[in-house]
Amino acid sequence: MAYANPHITADAVDAQEFMELTRRYRVTGVPKTVINDSIEILGGLPEADFIAAALQPEGDAS
């Protein structure tokens, strides 16, 4: 996704190494994706579903 658009940055974070972030984002299972500190996606999703979730208006995340 980051490669497809210059506005997007993708960080792969080792949850065990960076415990402070793991606590801050309440990572209780992996993979967990956090977008702009507001959208959270738990688990792996099919590509189309993942992108739809990532592009939802911020604040609508469950």
């Binding site: 497809a4 997007i8 960080d11 992996v30 967990k32 977008i35 702009n36 992108i51 592009l55």
Partner: protein, 143 residues
């Protein structure tokens, strides 16, 4: 002792064979106050770089190389910034890159070295509409 077995090396060499662009892996570590994972990350990257002549590892000091840290937005270490043909792919790997993270690293290297997006055309079209900064953080564990 190598992390990759001879069989792993053979499989990965074939997987990375399509690479035609130079791939620079910028590794940010810190000598003092750093964790052992920085050393592991270095070994992982060195072994990956040995699989293809176009792949290089460039070591950066997380404390001293403040200009590059700011340029690439690196805020913790160990960190790997993936460049393809000298251009930032905006893909970052934080941690030692072992286990499942290793798969992500290899795929990021392949993408940077080939420019071949694996996304569906519909996904690429949807992502083209993003017009403001989007930071995606994916948390995972090595095992």
């Amino acid at each position: 002792m190598p992390l990759l077995s001879p069989q792993d090396r053979q499989t990965l060499t074939q997987h990375l064979a399509p690479i035609t662009k130079s791939v620079d892996l910028l590794l940010f570590t810190q000598t003092f106050g750093g964790t052992e994972s920085g050393l592991v990350a270095k070994q992982v990257l060195d072994e990956v770089a040995s699989l293809h002549e176009k792949i290089s590892v460039v070591e950066k000091n997380f404390v001293l190389d403040t200009e590059d840290k700011a340029k690439y937005g690196v805020d913790k270490a160990p960190a790997v910034v993936v460049l393809g043909d000298g251009q930032d792919t905006r893909i970052r790997m934080y941690g030692a890159n072992t286990g499942y993270e290793f798969v992500s690293l290899v795929e990021a290297v392949l993408l940077a070295g080939t420019g071949n997006l694996e996304l569906e055309p519909e996904s690429v079209a949807a992502l083209a509409a993003v017009d403001k900064p989007m930071r995606i953080q994916v948390f995972s564990t090595p095992t």
